[in-house]
Amino acid sequence: MNALILSAVLGVIMMFSGILLKQKSAVRGVAITGLAALLLVNILELRGIHFFKIDVAGMMYFDRFALLFISIALFATLVYFILSAKDMEKVGADYAEYFALIFFIICGIILVASFKSLLILFLGIEIISIPLYILTGADKRNLKGNEGSLKYFLMGAFSTGLMLMGIALIYGAAGTFDVEKMKFAIETPAVLPVTGMLLLLFSMSFKVSAAPFHFWTPDVYDGAPTVFTSFMATVVKAAVFIGFIRLFDETFGTFQVKWQMWLAVIAAVTLFIGNITAVFQQSVKRMLAYSSIAQAGFMLLAVYAMNTSAKEGILLYAAAYSLATIGIFSVLNKLNDYTFEGFNGLAKQQPVVAGALTIFLLSLAGIPLTAGFLAKFFMLKSVIDTGTGLWLVIFAVLMAAVSVYYYFRVIQAMYFKEGKADITVTGRFKWALVTIAALIIILGTFPNILINWLYF
């Protein structure tokens, strides 16, 4: 609750900071300070210190799972601000507004992570989506940006329509939007709740870009300004996954057998399409878009399994995936050439940057000793714990092996190809990259420093 109210207020403050402050560095300073404060008050709430006592009528519930995820999301956003906030200046003139929109998105993320009523889920998803449509089209003169923005908007609004129909049908069956009070009997699967559940499944798959509802993702991620793709593909996607898990755990937990098979198929198709298509990409930005689809396939395994290790794992996955992808995108922002050739010879010019980038890529590929490996391990373990779906585990491992190919192409370009990667970075940027790389290795060795927050 602390972070929710503060983030809404910070959004308004950022709106006016664009008018009051003339210097862009001052705006950036306000944003980073505000986000750090946001992270602090949220961690305080995780330790049991509440600043606001507001009766939400049971529509929201801030448990440790939600609060820990919000902390991870805020931390990843802070890292994102530190690494890439300067690159937002290149996008357009409305510098302060971009920060304001991101703060509003954070507001939506908090709602999605802590909802107990389908109304809050709907509002959260919309508060995330609407600013994202704007950010995608932030570069007004860029035709690709326009196209991505319009596509994102039409597809997003369409999937919102599906979701609302699902919610309406569930309301018809249950008579309430409160997920606690909904009790669907498994013996008599009525038409209304099952149809509603399927519509919600499809619309959430749209939002997390799971195949076969993924077709908008590459175009939108490619068309959007790279700085905003970085945020969209990481923090936002992880947040929608948390909403997905909460929805299917708490609302539809009773008829898991009904949707588990659907999810297994969706996860398998997502893994397949994401990984195989990523192999054929020539642009690193587009490759990362497909890789985000592939990683979504892995995260879907947690929704499939829905047990303790799935919930622990999804938090670790969110942290590992967000940090690594934000790091890669922050380097991509500095490059002019987004193809694989653009990375040629980076290791000779910027050995520190190339080294950090290698760790990020290894983490995404799931090589041991990195956080990405343990995250994938938790996902697979959760599926094995359910006792079903062994074929899914084997398939996922195979697909992870495929993913090594396209992540290593970037490493190969950096280390073993001659060329002039065109990049200039500051010393502070290098330090930030190294810190994140170190963090990924620490998380990969001692995951408990993150997961223990759930219990203590």
């Binding site: 809404a8 308004v12 709106m15 006016f16 008018i19």
Partner: protein, 131 residues
């Protein structure tokens, strides 16, 4: 089956529709009589001027699909936004007494956020008409 609209079934007989039917016949009849009458009685002038678009009596020129100033669009959109937000005052107005002071503070906060947006629009110059 649950009845959603509370129509009293006893009044829904065929006889009670008679006034509606008379009204319908009268309306359709009046329109058709007037149309036929103007067609027969009115003078007929067949000139090329009649085929042109009527633009307040001024001679029309150019294409209607010209670029339009973006501020019309902006004002229209802002109107839609602020107009629809008022919807939240309806439940409050109905339950004004029951909600008491806590409801009042909540609505005041809502209006406060609203005013922030409004000030922002004015400061940004979105409502400036003269260039």
């Amino acid at each position: 089956m649950i009845h959603l609209l509370q129509i009293n079934p006893s009044t829904a007989e065929a006889g009670s529709y008679l006034p509606v039917a008379i009204q319908l016949i009268f309306a359709v009849g009046l329109v058709s009589v007037l149309m036929v009458a103007t067609h027969l009685l009115g003078p007929k002038r067949k000139t090329s001027d009649k085929l042109q678009n009527f633009a307040s009596g001024i001679e029309s020129h150019g294409d209607a699909r010209q670029p339009m100033a973006i501020k019309y669009f902006l004002t229209a959109i802002l109107f839609v936004l602020f107009d629809v937000e008022v919807i939240f005052f309806y439940p409050y107005a109905v339950n004004f007494k029951e909600l008491g002071w806590s409801g009042f503070w909540a609505v005041l906060m809502f209006v406060g956020f609203f005013l922030c947006g409004f000030t922002y629009i004015i400061k940004k110059g979105a409502l400036k008409w003269e260039d």
